[in-house]
């Protein structure tokens, strides 16, 4: 483009100011990308939730157990394909920061209820016949470089005094759903039930029910809850996605927090860039007047200001997003104990770049219109 030399020359005119403004964009976009992947990581649990599964938990809270005896009663309800139960194990592998979700599962019904989490048959059979067996998700296996046959000690103080539980890695599961959770660690109900103190025996964390038809979710959940009305352990049954959403809410209003931080960051960026462009235009009043005098139109002058503002935004945005692409995999590993896995998607990168473009354009529009409306004679008189 024939105007590029003028636009780039103006862009690099004040290098320190350019570096600071581009730096502001880079940091803001890095923060945006990080917040967006955290939000996506939390929402992913709800996104991959199945529409034909219900979670039935203690009405009081997820941390309160339900009796194992409910299993038979739930299984008798018409319209169910299968029922299984889970317990949160909550052990520690070597160090607390090495967090990954560990579930006590019911091997008999697990694969019927969770068919998308696939374990090869031979591995599954080994697991079923090994009381100390464990199945681990592909991501966690990769993270700790575990392989089939490894013996893994996990400490637990949730169920009685601190003790070490040893497990044999019998299999590795993969999720057939894109973005599905491959970080879980499954251990056998029988081994768990045998080892926990008396107080914890016969108690499960929650039931997961697979429906024959997704549209029966409401009636089945009502049936389950009415079954245990006025009992010592009332249930609260909801779809898996609603359950995942309420699980995320336990961390606080992540979505709202991220939106507020993101809005403040972008608004501040708008002010910083708007101020930079206003100063730049004010400094160049005489030059812009000369351009107009020699025949550049008002629109051309507006275009120069906007182009400069948008270029700052794009350069800073690309830097910030590039930095986040480099840093987020490392951050994801470092924060593995505190946050779900973080994945920087193309959507987040595109949204970040679009947001940068918008901020750049909006920041340039006011000084640009000022430059456009400037009268040549008045501006030349000021020189």
């Amino acid at each position: 483009m024939k105007f590029s030399s003028l636009i780039f020359a103006n862009l690099f005119r004040k290098k320190a100011r350019l570096v600071l403004t581009v730096g502001s964009f880079a940091i803001a976009l890095f923060l945006f990308a990080f917040l967006a992947v955290v939000r996506a990581a939390f929402n992913q649990q709800a996104d991959v939730a199945s529409a034909d599964r219900l979670i039935s938990r203690n009405h009081i809270s997820l941390s309160e157990p339900l009796p194992l005896s409910y299993y038979e009663q739930i299984a008798r309800i018409p319209g169910l394909a299968a029922v299984t139960h889970f317990n949160w194990f909550g052990g520690i592998y070597q160090d607390e920061k090495n967090f990954f979700p560990q579930f006590v599962i019911d091997p008999e019904h697990q694969r019927q209820v969770m068919p998308e989490l696939v374990v090869p048959d031979d591995q599954w059979q080994t697991f079923v016949h090994d009381r100390q067996g464990a199945i681990v998700g592909a991501k966690t296996a990769k993270r700790f470089r575990w392989k089939i046959g490894d013996r893994i000690p996990i400490q637990n103080s949730r169920y009685g005094p601190l003790s070490t539980w040893d497990f044999n890695i019998d299999g590795i599961y993969h999720s057939q759903n894109p973005g599905g959770d491959e970080t879980q660690f499954w251990l056998q109900w029988d081994y768990f039930e045998e080892k926990v103190p008396q107080d914890f025996k016969g108690r499960v964390g929650w039931y997961t029910v697979k429906l024959d038809r997704p549209n029966s979710a409401l009636s089945v959940s009502n049936t389950i809850d009415s079954l245990f009305d006025n009992s010592a352990y009332e249930t609260k049954t909801e779809t898996e996605s609603a359950f995942a959403a309420s699980f995320v809410k336990q961390f606080g209003n992540i979505e709202g927090l991220i939106m507020i931080i993101g809005s403040v960051v972008f608004f501040t960026l708008l002010l910083v860039t708007g101020n930079t462009m206003a100063i730049a235009v004010r400094e160049r009043t005489g030059e812009l007047a000369v351009l107009k005098a020699i025949g550049f139109s008002d629109r051309a002058v507006l275009f120069f200001v906007l182009a400069e503002s948008v270029l700052i935004a794009v350069i800073g945005g690309l830097l910030g997003l590039g930095l986040s692409a480099l840093a987020i995999p490392g951050l994801s590993s470092a924060l593995a104990g505190m946050l779900p896995p973080l994945n920087l998607s193309a959507t987040i990168l595109s949204m970040g770049l679009l947001a940068a473009l918008l901020v750049g354009a909006v920041a340039g529009i006011v000084p640009g219109i000022g430059a456009m409306r400037m009268r040549v004679v008045t501006a030349l008189r000021r020189i």
Binding site: K2, A9, A293, I294
Partner: protein, 244 residues
């Protein structure tokens, strides 16, 4: 200064008829130019002198279509510019006017070549054609060897030469020079005036110049004095203040 063809129509390049320019300052109206008439022929070198506030620069701004008169008309090469829209005036300026300012007004972040090329960016010329035009203009002003220098690497006289090259590169109908030597030492001023004379004599350019300096004004074909908004002729060749 004026001329007529056989049909009784004027052949002047620039015709100014009865222009007034009034500025509003608060409640007060200030008449800067009053009933001014002027004819300038093609290839003529005209100087305007006068005390500060006499309306010299205002007249130049009107002739350059940077401003519009309160009353009256200005016709240049057959175009009546007084009633053109702002957008049309901008296009018209690009084709017809070359500006030379006292402070040169070069873009400091562009080289001499890029500064001279600026007006050509508004044309449909190819990059190669633009290059040829810029090199020619810089050769005319004697700065072909300095085309890759930035303004800060040039002397004041050289900067003004670049500004002159920028003014002539599109081959406009006429040049407007506002105190072109006002910021230069005598030697540089003489060189610039010699260059402007060359443009008039050898290249047939029409130049209208504002100056405070009588020595500079003396080099013009004709000098007008502006006094309280009225144009007064100073020279035997001209009829000023009266249309033909």
């Amino acid at each position: 200064m004026t001329g007529e063809n056989g049909n009784g129509k004027t052949s002047s390049l620039i015709q100014v008829r009865g222009i007034d320019k009034t500025y509003q300052r608060g409640q007060e109206e200030i008449d800067v130019l009053r009933g001014l008439n002027l004819d300038v022929n093609k290839g003529q070198f005209v100087a305007f002198m006068g005390p500060s506030g006499s309306g010299k620069t205002t007249l130049l701004n009107l002739l350059g279509a940077l401003d519009v008169p309160t009353r009256g008309s200005i016709t240049v090469a057959g175009d009546e510019i007084t009633h053109m829209s702002r957008g049309k005036l901008t296009e018209w300026r690009a084709r017809h006017v070359g500006f030379i300012f006292q402070m040169y007004n070069l873009i400091p972040v562009l080289t001499a070549f890029q500064n001279v090329e600026l007006p050509l960016l508004l044309t449909n010329l190819s990059k190669a054609e633009r290059k040829t035009h810029v090199e020619t203009a810089l050769t005319v002003v004697g700065l072909a060897q300095r085309m890759n220098h930035y303004p800060r690497q040039l002397s004041g006289g050289q900067e003004q030469r670049v500004a002159i090259a920028r003014a002539i590169v599109t081959d406009p109908s006429f040049l407007l020079a506002d105190e072109p030597t006002g910021d230069l030492d005598r030697k540089s001023a003489d060189e610039i005036m010699a260059l402007i004379r060359t443009l008039v004599k050898d290249h047939g350019k029409t130049v209208l110049m504002v100056t405070h300096d009588p020595m500079v004004a003396r080099q013009a074909d004709v000098t007008f004095h502006l006094d309280k908004g009225v144009l007064v002729e100073d020279g035997a060749h001209l009829v000023a203040g009266e249309p033909a």
